[in-house]
Symmetry: C2
Subunit: 441 residues, 2 copies
């Protein structure tokens, strides 16, 4: 690597840029070169996958130092990236209390509250005075807590009684009891709550952390907002990839194995391809018309793509609005009304464009013959119908999927386009029969 | 509203559910019913748009109480939602120091650091002892700071010298100087940094807040991570909507005006429609073939949609990977190589499906005549070519757009599908001429 061979000192930014291109040996050399403190910083900002790869590429005696930099929730994520043998090796490197914490966290799925939480939070007892609570925090727990933004008030069985922000504790008169200043009405989540739900709570209430409790309201840990930024980003990536008509990759594009990527893409592609075969069947019924007026066939892609595109717009909007809880199941009629109006408007605009195209296209380029006006009207009317139909189908499909208990995000642009292609052909040839029979057909 | 008329007390959740459906009078009644404290909570969790609507719907003498609940950055967002007359009215309701802060914030665009930041942060001087700093924070600023997670060390001209977490300040021996425990290497951002860049910094470094500084490194405010969750969500919404082939709406689907929505959707739809007209032109060149073998026309939608769908997948993946900085401009060749392999694999799968479809489709449903095998080969080869071409086009278009300084997110599924439609037809008819000339053509 040219960047690594020159004499000037390597900066963290350069290493970050070059990282994904380096072999594991070059990575080790680079880490040595930038020095211990910078290497630690660099390690901490890697994602769990890269952290795991880095630790495993180290000689056994150097692994421990890196692994111990991580708080238990992050260590659990790294361990989760490894296969079973490596897991045991890495777990053996942790100190006893951390190993117990990591083991407890490994029991949870990565995408639920238990898998996101840190077991290290600041806690005090209700009967303490404010002064005592501050000293207690200062002397005992501060080493072992991830955030002191909120201080949780628990009883001896770890039941969650209330919460106070560190700021409020700090401002309160020293002689007051913690129980007098705490807020009892705490927003908490169960261990198995999905990360997407949790992120909505964070946004709704502008929180910095949320406590995770078991059925008996005993505190298990806290989820902090910095982890939620990652969650929101991940969920958006999943939704975007689904909207492109495939399964979510769950791995960075350049790192996923080729076979895995083909598998994740081929499924939907094959389903869509087989559904699209219906277009060939539908067109089989109109083969006579096509043979008599081949000019009709030349407009097929134009007309069905107009429906597919307006349908993609509508489904994309509705799926996203559902993900943000802006649109709920019972809003289907409001959405339908909007798409009826929008679809008609858009259909008229495109219909007019299509009409103009056929009427003003220079005669020396293509001759539509004596039936130019009739053809133009056929195209215009079909486009209006297909765009309107596309908007309705695209906007209602996510409701249908959700109503059936399926993921509305499956209403991807390609899926909607495929649905609309088949029906668009039927609309087109029906309109053509109505307007052109006796003239061209 | 049935929910509001029954006798049981209204809960916050019910109000939240019903809110978007209520008239402004019903909203006021509902707020009175749930009581002052809950009404305040409810108001604080609304977004800026709804907060503005609520405040403006109140009689003038009740507006002040709600508006003053807001920290200056949120108040600025609310004021920004109003038109000019209302703005002045609302500004007059703020107390003097807040008005000055809000005014300063209004000078920034909503989506850059200055527009996101809060001017209320905890600051100390380097020469203070830890004990002095804690007392200083406790006595003076705590009322007026948004977070004490980080404490910023500034000189008398507000130049940023360093930072310490509150936790570290709290743990340090009381007699040490602040300058001895502070970290000097602070990650800060300029006032005009775009929010998307800022959110990347937050994720990379797991920060809870980032200071905003001017050119002279003077501290202007802090951006806190809870605002970043919103930013990530907003940016994802924009990207998703663009991926559906339209401009980002920038407003919730159910609230945006119909005319605005049509405008945001019609632009791209018209561009795509006009580009798709090229398919009609392309097919004009093959009208003879179509007239001679109408069966060829029946497969047109199937073949071009296969290319469009695989292209949508590729562009969606690459656009998202670029947004997450997983893929950079110089990675184009690595992406091309992956898509060459993936596209070939996917093309073979779909080609085989198409071949099987024609060979095994029961004779009594559709008779392809004596040339069944030749037709099946034509379809299979065309599908392989079109899918491969779609994958390459879809994956390279975002690179091209970015290289030209345009937004790679414009490489939407419908845009790619349109590009591939035109070229897909040419591929199809070229393959058909090669295989079928002398047989069917």
């Amino acid at each position: 690597m040219a960047e690594l061979e020159d004499d000037e000192a390597l900066t963290l930014e350069e290493l970050d840029e070059a990282w994904s291109l380096l072999s594991s040996e070059e990575r080790l050399d680079a880490l040595k070169e930038i020095g211990r403190a910078d290497a630690d910083d660099f390690f901490l900002q890697l994602n769990a996958r890269d952290q795991a790869a880095l630790v495993l590429s180290l000689p056994p005696h150097e692994r421990r130092a890196y692994l111990r930099l991580l708080p238990p929730d992050d260590a659990a994520d790294v361990v989760q990236e490894c296969d079973d043998d490596e897991r045991e090796e890495l777990m053996a490197l942790l100190d006893e209390p951390t190993r117990i914490e990591v083991n407890a966290l490994l029991a949870y799925a990565e995408d639920e509250a238990g898998g996101l939480m840190s077991p290290r939070f600041a806690r005090v007892r209700p009967a303490m005075t404010v002064q005592e609570a501050i000293s207690y925090l200062r002397m005992q727990t501060v080493e072992r807590v991830e955030t002191i933004y909120y201080v949780y008030v628990t009883d001896t069985t770890q039941k969650l009684l209330g919460v106070t922000s560190f700021r409020d504790l700090f401002r309160a008169p020293g002689h007051k009891k913690v129980s007098e200043i705490m807020v009892e009405d705490v927003i908490s989540v169960p261990e198995d709550m999905d990360q997407e739900e949790i992120s909505k709570l964070f946004m709704q209430h502008s929180l910095m952390a949320i406590p995770v409790v078991d059925e008996a309201n005993r505190m298990m840990g806290i989820v902090t907002v910095d982890d939620i930024v990652q969650v929101v980003q991940e969920e958006a990536t999943e939704d975007i990839q689904k909207s492109g008509g495939m399964e979510a990759l769950d791995e960075p594009y350049l790192e996923i194995g080729l076979m895995t990527m083909i598998k994740k893409r081929a499924g939907w592609l094959a389903i869509l391809f087989c559904s699209e075969m219906l277009t060939a069947t539908a067109m089989g019924h109109f083969e006579d018309e096509i043979a008599r007026a081949a000019v009709l066939a030349t407009f097929i892609p134009l007309i069905i793509s107009g429906g597919g595109n307006s349908g993609s717009q509508a489904s994309t909007l509705v799926v996203r609005a559902m993900a943000l809880s802006e649109v709920r199941l019972r809003d289907w009629w409001r959405v339908m009304r909007r798409e009826l109006l929008t679809g008609s408007g858009l259909g008229l605009i495109l219909g007019l464009l299509g009409f103009t195209r056929i009427m003003v296209w220079p005669k020396w380029m293509y001759n539509y013959g004596p039936h130019q006006l009739a053809i133009a009207c056929t195209i215009a009317c079909s486009v209006v119908g297909v765009v309107l139909f596309g908007s309705i189908t695209g906007s209602m499909l996510p409701f249908l999927l959700r109503r059936l208990g399926l993921d509305p995000a499956s209403a991807s642009a390609p899926f909607v386009a495929t649905l609309v292609d088949v029906s668009g052909l039927v609309i087109y040839f029906t309109v053509a029969r109505l307007i052109l029979s006796g003239i061209l057909l």
